[in-house]
Symmetry: C2
Subunit: 136 residues, 2 copies
Amino acid sequence: MKPRHPTLTAECRPISELLARIGDKWSVLVVGLLGDGPLRFSALRRRIDGISQKMLTATLRSLERDGFVTRTVFPTTPPQVEYELTDLGRDLLVPVGALAEWARQNQARVDDARRQFDRQNGVANGRAQASPLSAP
Amino acid sequence: MKPRHPTLTAECRPISELLARIGDKWSVLVVGLLGDGPLRFSALRRRIDGISQKMLTATLRSLERDGFVTRTVFPTTPPQVEYELTDLGRDLLVPVGALAEWARQNQARVDDARRQFDRQNGVANGRAQASPLSAP
DNA sequence: CGGGATCCCGACGGATACTG
DNA sequence: CAGTATCCGTCGGGATCCCG
């Protein structure tokens, strides 16, 4: 079994690191929203239903740290803070958008496979029994 | 359960669900390795440095459940189990490969941005201070 | 050899409450 | 408005033992 693509393992480490950065619960959502243009903190908060202000802050800090987002403070009263994608962030949006498109077009296939798997094994819930993986 | 509102989610929810499935620590690595051809359990274990047998099992179960991987048992002694990508899995490899390629070409830009951010703020570690996000 | 069962810990992430 | 600080539950995931 010789790898026909010798660079595959070399390709997988960067992707793992990238997933460690933006593979969390909210980063991609935020980047996707900012893809339409700059938004203020509350605007993001309102658009992302279910996110806590703590996680939104942390997510934005992380994205800013990795150079995907800029943070601009307007010293008005009350203060305004605007977040905007950098060039790097907009670049990232391309492959992420492709993945999103794939997900949109193939989610039915994945769901079908999952239902079939769950039917063949006696699973009460929608979750693999002895598996700590996968999300609801 | 989390009540999702249809605000933004039309475009971004599929990608979030996909990330919830393959965005974990090992799934993409396994899929990437299987892209070269079927592999046995121990072969995967040996190739993925640092993975525990529990997580490899769980990852493979999850991938099998979602229809990305097939599991074939050969009733030999000792038993052999081979894992192979399905058509869906190979399809997934395309956008994931694109993302991996992006990560490979842009990791320097991300690292530079991160170092600059950490220098501007007084950060002792390589980690954002008040942020629970980002990886070691 | 492949993988199930358990124990355990630290990180992720939600819910307030407080500040400038 | 835009955070920061604190408490706390959940769960990903590593280590270990055991079984067909």
